[in-house]
Every structure is written in C-alpha cells, then in structure tokens.
C-alpha cells in the first residue's frame, strides 16, 4: 500500500502534464468544430459524391456537423495520446528504479518482488484511469455548449471505456518491457518502437485488402469508433486478443522480474 501511494505521488506531475496535453488538444479541436457545427452546406457536398468514394475514405461514417461525428474523428488522436501515456508509464515505473539508482533500496524492502510489481502496476493503472476520466470530463464539458443528445454521451462513455482497455494493453506491454530489458536504458526506446510500429500498421491497414491482417497486429485498430457509435460493441475477436496480450505480458513480467539480475 505504501509503495502504491508513493508511486502515485511520484507520477502525479506526469499525470498533470498528460492531462494538460489532452486538454490543449480538446480545446483546439472543439475550436475547429465551431466552423462545422450545424453547417449543412458541407453535408450537401458529401451527398453529391458517389457512395464507393465515401466508403473508401470513411467519410460517411461520421457526420462532421454533429458532436458525435466530430468526436469520432478526434477519437484516433485521443487514443494515440492515451496510449503513449500508458506505454511510457508502464515501462518507466519499473525501469526508473535502476535509472535513478534507487533499486537497491526498493528491493531490500521487506516485500516480495511480485508485490512490488503489483503495487507499481496498480499505481500506473490508477493513473491511466484518472487520465481517461479527465479526458471524458474535458470532452463532455467542451461538447455541452453544442447541446449534444444522449447518443453523444453514450458514445463518449463507451468510447472512453474502450480507450481504458487500450491503455491497459499498452500499460502491460510497457511493464513487460520494463521488466524484461536487461539494460534499463533500452526500455523506453523499445516501448516507443513498439508503439510507433503498431501505429504505422494502423495507418496503412485499411488501404488494401491484402494488408487487412495488419489490423490484428495493431491495438489501435481494435477499437473501431464507427462500430462503437453505430452498434455500441467491439468485435469479440479483438476483446480476446486484448485479453491475451494483457495476460501474456503481465505473467511474463512477473516471471522475468523474479529472476532478474539487477544493474547496480
């Protein structure tokens, strides 16, 4: 419990910074939305285009003149920010002890290594949830000026719930990397490469049928805002995949950290 509280306190500043980033992004985004809100002209243009063309670019998926549609477009970027926060927190919360040369102290405490990881992971998870809550609140407040219907709030809630799951995936990947890397300095860079790789996959996965399989490799593709908005659900195969990644990473992390040789 003490470790948990200590970690929460140590990460509080970082949480504030990420909340600031999200707030900045939401403010800039909604400021742009004012140009589109209730402006049917752009809809007329969209209606005059061929259906196949709209499908290719997902333009029919979201109606940019409504708050839901606008949030749907912002969703991918919010997901990216939250995922970066999660993967950084995960990899750093373990590897920072070695970087700051406090690992001798942490590991001579009368707690098992597994308890240490649990406390740290719980602190990072709390941070992730707090960040998601903040994002939720910020979006709800910014949107309230455009008097959104109940479907916006449902979409926002379900979308944010999906993002918490996305954060947990990246958090477990981060924790695994933090535990598994022999050189603590590498943990951050490896975490970033994985994040970048999966993000690039998600960008190109939709472009061509043959690359469709890439969507299984990229957690960014698991939570499709179109489906959440229209059908309020996520494909079950992605839920299983997410669960698999989380369980595999966390159990790997516990196993490896038990017998880890520390850099002192």
């Amino acid at each position: 419990m003490r470790i948990y509280l200590r970690e929460l306190k140590a990460n509080f500043k970082s949480l504030l910074i990420y909340t600031g980033v999200v707030a900045f992004f939401v403010v800039v985004g909604f400021q742009k939305f004012t140009a589109y809100a209730q402006n049917p002209e752009i809809l007329d243009v969209l209606d005059s285009m061929p259906k196949a063309m709209l499908d290719t670019f997902y333009m029919n998926a979201f109606n940019l003149t409504t708050v839901e549609g606008f949030f749907g477009v912002m969703y991918a970027f919010v997901a990216l920010i939250l995922a970066i926060a999660a993967v950084m927190w995960g990899s750093e919360i373990i590897s920072k002890e070695e970087r700051d040369k406090t690992v001798e102290f942490a590991l001579t405490l009368p707690v098992k290594r597994s308890t240490l990881i649990t406390a740290k992971a719980a602190a990072a998870l709390t941070n992730c949830i707090l960040l998601a809550l903040a994002t939720w609140g910020l979006n709800a407040v910014s949107a309230s000026g455009y008097d959104p219907g109940p479907e916006f709030y449902t979409f926002l809630f379900q979308g944010m719930a999906a993002l918490v799951l996305l954060q947990v995936i990246f958090l477990s990947i981060g924790i695994f990397i933090g535990c598994a890397m022999k050189q603590h300095k590498r943990a951050g860079s490896v975490a970033i490469s994985i994040l970048l790789g999966t993000y690039f996959f998600s960008v190109i996965a939709g472009l061509r049928d043959e690359w469709d399989f890439l969507k299984y490799l990229s957690p960014f593709k698991y939570f499709d805002p179109v489906m959440i908005l229209r059908e309020s659900r996520i494909e079950p195969v992605y839920l299983w995949l997410s669960a698999g990644i989380i369980v595999a990473c966390l159990s790997g992390a516990y196993l490896i950290y038990q017998r880890r040789d520390l850099y002192i």
């Binding site: 992004f25 800039v28 752009i42 285009m49 290719t56 670019f57 970066i84 472009l207």
Partner: protein, 267 residues
Amino acid sequence: MNIFLHEFKSYLKSVGIWSAANFLIILVYFSAFNAISLETAQMQTMLDAFPNELLIAFGMNDMNFGTLLGWFGVVFLFCQICLAIQASNYGFSLVSIEERELTADFLLPKPLSRVKILTAKILAALAALTITNLAVWASSFFTINLLRQGRTYDAAALVMVLSTIIVFQLFFLSVGLLISLLMKRVRSVISLSMALSFGMYILNAFGKMIGEDSLEIISPFRHFDPNYIINHQAYNWSLVVISLGVILVAVPASYLLYQKRNITAAV
C-alpha cells in the same frame, strides 16, 4: 576536439539503429504503396472532380495518389516522425545526461569554457544527425529507383523534400536542448522527446484534417509538409521562417542558459 570525438562515438550505435529503421520504413512502406499506386491512377482522376473545399477538409488537397512522389510524401511523413524523435532525444539528453549520470563533475572542471563544451556537443550531435540524414537520402533514391519500373519522377522535387531534413532535425535538436536547460532536472529523456515530437505530429495531423489554420502552424510537420513541396515545387516560406526563427532563438538562448546553469553535483 576530444569532447567532439567522444560524443560522436557514443552516438554511433544509435545512429546505426535509426538509419536502419528509416531505411526499412522507406523500403517496406514504399514498396507496399507502390503496389497500390498502379491501381489508384484512376482514383486520382476521380478526386480531381471534387470540390476543393472538401478535399482541404480531409487533408487530401495536396496529395497526389497516382504518382510515385505522391506516395513518397506519405512514406516520408513516417520518416519525419522518426527523425523528430531521434533529434529531440539528442537535444534533451545533450547536456542533461551529464547531470543525470553524475559525470558533470568530471566534465566541467576540464580547462575549457562552457561555450566550447556546448559547441563540441552540439556539433557532435549534428554530425550524428547528418549521418542519419544521408541515410534517408540514400534510401529514398535507392528505393524509388528500385521500384519505379520505368516510370519517371521529378528528381528536383525529391531533392527539395529531402533538403528540408536538416532544418527539421535542427528544430527538434535546439528546442529539446532549450527545454532541457529550462528544467531543473531532466529525469526521463524519452518521455519528453515523445511529448515534443508526437505533440507536434498530432497537432499537424489533426489540424490538417479539419477546419482552418490555428495553432498547428507552430508544428514543423506543417512547415515541411512533403506533399506541399512536391505539388508546388516550392517551399511554403511563410511557414518555413517560423522554424528558422525558432532555431535562431533557441540556440543562443541555450548558450546563455548553459553558461549560467547551476549544475547538480554528485556530492
């Protein structure tokens, strides 16, 4: 000179990894895109028929789907993200690493002024970034010529796009350095550099997608938008000067701050 060599050597491994990553990105993504570019030639004619306002709204006004360089613009954006992370990593760790690893106690008593130390360090980082820069040049020409299958491309436009890399890198290097000097203590370089480089990327990507220009004009991703350069055969000078201005402010400011910096010592 010793400091320069020592620093430069310590960059070599990381330069190798980043250059290889950029080469792989260009090769893999360009060959993938190249496969669609043949199919999408018709799509371009379709796109041309749409009203320009709409294409601007979706950030597609500057994209040319049917040509080699149109796709190269998309691939180059991925490279830019990597280059931005690398340059801001170097910038944030340039002087902060000495305090974090307690080697400042060893470095600063050397009979050298801080100006000289900082100059040597900046030059070493710049040399390292230039090697990656050259690797991107070589990989771009190599990949395009490998895959063009007899189609032609505008080499002058490609040279123009690739020439922006050095300024792009300098922006992130100098801003990273300046921020690290404004902070009392830099704990984690990578979180800061991620925030800077991805922040700029998201700002630009989202800003281009909808609405009018607002804050995203501070993003170098905007200043050196490859699609703009390819289509207009020119730089967007009114935006490029923002980057140049930031560099010209950040470098002297870093010198000033470093000279007056209160260094955290080991004891």
